[in-house]
């Protein structure tokens, strides 16, 4: 039986074949199995989308309708224990526009076995501190400039430092790594920075003073908040702020399940196919959280469109629309005059291959029954007629 089913591997989807394997009784004869599969294949062929069907239009309507519902009756933000999460229409727009800067970047960090059980709270706490970004500003009480010799004095908060687990030496190391051209000196409760160059000025010192406030002393850049959460027998760390590349390097982290809601980061770290999957997951998360129901195929189509070019392109005039080959199609979306003038300047040709441009020039559109066309072979002229 198994070998007959495997004959259909090219014709039927894997999920259906698995169902056949489970549900066809063991004793069924070969001819009967073949009959079942043949019937299923016929049904499957009937259920497929016809060539020329305007799937994009259907997807747009199917996502758009619940979208309008969403604007009307939802909370656009949900609080997950002190942490803000963008939800609802703003989040959908954020994903579809392919934005690089998110309103609320967030990560879900899964942990490896011994840490995930959460039996040793001490470990979790330690890990959380290792992930959360600590800036110089967080562990110091005062920044001051000595006007006489333009040195900067940073008063350190020793108690806070003990809590986080950094020493003065480590602080000085971190500063010297991220700030060039300064001598750093330890002075009991504070550290003193002095410019190496002779031409120091008050302005320069002031600028540096503001700059060093943001220096990362410990943790991962960009992670603003950490929050361990119990999820089905294991602890997961949810963070505000996102930095996938660096978090995956941590030893305690289960790198293969850890994700972020920043699609651009996923594309950089895991590739375009992972980004496509992330787009689908993220849109689905929003739609599900609102109790709406949109078929996965529509969302997959949108995600595929955003990812065809090898990088994530938003559905905006700078993204997907700018890729269209037709001038008129581009002009019909946004900023028409810009597109038409540019096309005229370089002498672009529009072959009227797609929908919008054919609507504009009042021709049948190549969709559905408009897709097939007749081609006629002209009768060949005999040499005499020439």
């Amino acid at each position: 039986m198994a070998d007959i089913i495997s004959e259909y591997e090219d014709k039927l989807p894997a999920k259906m074949l698995d169902e056949f394997k489970e549900n066809i009784p063991k004793g069924a004869s070969d001819t009967k199995v073949r009959k079942i599969l043949e019937a299923a294949y016929g049904e499957y062929k009937n259920a497929r989308v016809c060539p020329g069907e305007a799937v994009g239009l259907i997807a747009a309507e199917s996502i758009g309708e619940p979208g309008t519902q969403m604007t009307l009756n939802t909370f656009h933000f949900a609080g997950v224990a002190e942490m803000n999460v963008t939800l609802g229409l703003p989040r959908i727009i954020e994903i579809l526009d392919g934005r690089k800067e998110l309103e609320n970047p967030m990560m879900e960090i899964y942990l490896k076995k011994p840490y995930a059980s959460g039996k040793r709270i001490e470990d979790l706490r330690h890990l959380a501190l290792q992930i959360k970004e600590t800036k110089l500003n967080d562990i110091s009480t005062e920044f001051s400039i000595n006007i006489a010799d333009f040195t900067i004095e940073v008063k350190l908060d020793k108690e806070r430092m003990k809590e986080i687990g950094v020493t003065t030496g480590k602080v000085m190391d971190a500063i010297s790594k991220q700030l060039k051209g300064y001598n750093i000196k330890d002075d009991k409760d504070s550290i003193i920075l002095k410019a190496r160059s002779k031409e120091d000025s008050f302005n320069e010192a002031y600028k540096t003073k503001e700059k060093i406030k943001g220096i990362t002393i410990k943790g991962i850049k960009g992670i603003l908040q950490v929050l361990p959460v119990k999820r089905e027998e294991e602890f997961v760390i949810i963070t505000a702020g996102s930095n996938l590349a660096d978090v995956l390097q941590l030893e305690e982290v289960d790198a293969y399940r850890t994700t972020t809601n920043n699609i651009f980061e996923i594309e950089q770290v895991l590739g375009i196919e992972a980004a496509r999957q992330a787009i689908i997951n993220e849109i689905f998360k929003v739609i599900e959280s609102q109790g709406l129901n949109v078929d996965a195929r529509h969302i997959m189509l949108v995600a595929d469109t955003m990812c065809v070019s090898g990088t994530v392109k938003g559905i905006t005039r700078y993204g997907v629309v700018s890729e269209k080959s037709s001038v008129l199609a581009r002009a019909s979306f946004e900023t028409p005059i810009k597109h038409i003038i540019n096309a005229a300047l370089i002498g672009e040709v529009d072959n009227l291959n797609s929908v919008v441009e054919n609507v504009m020039v009042n021709q049948p559109i190549p969709i559905g029954t408009g897709l097939p066309s007749l081609s006629v072979k002209p009768p060949q002229k005999t040499p005499k007629e020439k």
Partner: protein, 81 residues
């Protein structure tokens, strides 16, 4: 920081990528009546295909997990930019 032992293709979001051989590639293009330029693209620098040593014009086969079909096969052509 230690060098990463992290493998991109093992992440839950990344589907399996593999490079098509010359013959398979020709068969595929023949089957769909396309040239490799008309296929969806994947960047040469994409992190998921770094270890495949793919050149421009190669076709990458991607086996995705799909909620509707169980598994679905997708092809992308390697492109420069």
């Amino acid at each position: 920081m230690k060098k990463p032992k992290f493998k991109v293709d093992k992440h839950i979001l990344t589907p399996k990528h593999s490079k098509l051989g010359e013959r398979e590639k020709a068969q595929l293009l023949e089957k769909y009546h396309v040239t490799s330029k008309e296929l969806p693209k994947i960047l040469k620098a994409d992190s998921a295909i770094k270890e495949l040593d793919a050149k421009t014009g190669d076709v990458i086969k991607i086996v995705r997990k799909s909620p509707t079909a169980g598994e679905s096969v997708f092809y992308r052509a390697v492109s420069d930019v």
